[in-house]
Symmetry: C2
Subunit: 168 residues, 2 copies
């Protein structure tokens, strides 16, 4: 990786996906569409990106992404298994090869007893789901920006690792 800005990583992810013939869909909560928007910023994104769902209200995580109501009731929306279910759900519902998801607490207030900066990002591929749990520093804008960056980087790592010789 020669650059470190999110624009650069977004372009690298789209290139890595296109090389494998994989499409992408995004499910977002605290990032609110910013992951998807960072990908759309790259010219030619439409060759890879199908779209995204921002399920900001908790009930929409169940309705639009198929996250289990029992899981949401038991753990709340900010949970690694919820992130995994969001990634798998958006992958399936938008007919994409790869699903990328974010959930977390942007702040300024805590949520369900979790401090701002508690963030989970997940990537679902034909081979399964990987989740990364983070504690990000800073205020609302910094947490959201870092979550966007970490989500796109995780997807790039997973696609590069698993993207060769994998059935679609």
């Amino acid at each position: 990786m020669t650059g470190t800005g999110v624009e650069h990583v977004a372009a690298e992810l789209l290139t890595a996906l296109e090389r494998r013939g994989w499409s992408l869909a995004v499910a977002e909560s605290l990032t609110g569409g910013a992951v998807c928007s960072a990908l759309v910023a790259v010219p030619g994104a439409s060759r890879v990106l199908r779209g995204g769902i921002t399920a900001y209200a908790t009930d929409l995580k169940a309705r639009l992404l198929g996250v289990d109501d029992v899981l949401l009731d038991a753990r709340g929306a900010v949970d690694p298994d919820v992130a995994a279910a969001m990634a798998a759900g958006v992958r399936e519902r938008l007919s994409a090869d790869v699903g990328l998801a974010t959930t977390g607490v942007a702040g300024p207030d805590a949520q369900d007893g979790l401090p701002p900066g508690t963030v989970h990002v997940a990537v679902a591929t034909p081979l399964g789901v990987r989740v990364e749990s983070l504690h990000l520093p800073g205020g609302r804008a910094a947490v959201r920006a870092a979550a966007v960056d970490r989500a796109i980087r995780l997807a790039l790592v997973v696609v590069r690792e698993h993207g060769s010789a994998v059935p679609r």
Copy 2:
């Protein structure tokens, strides 16, 4: 309006909606989640914002937002009636009082014979749908940023005009 930045207008829109007890959902194409993200940037957005759908691939405008396939086939995705249908569709599917939508050509290339900067934004309320058709100058980033700004401003105008004494 005392400020002009998108952050300020986004905060004003959320305040205007909250005063009326109205919720909001967003459907995006060329803006790719940036309208929704600009609203999530405002602390307390969850009191008003339900979520959003980025239907970047044309088939998702039909599947996720209920835009008529015949309309999409006849006119393409960049069309005022498609913008209106996206706003009405996201309003209904996300159970929101107000739906806000964007579709257009960000560039750098023309699409369906339409030049970059061709953009339609739409707002659906309990009283109907208003569409604004724009020709925005600049490159991909400038067109997308201006589309975000114009969409949020249109929503603010419509909510302020129609937001009093209206049945929910």
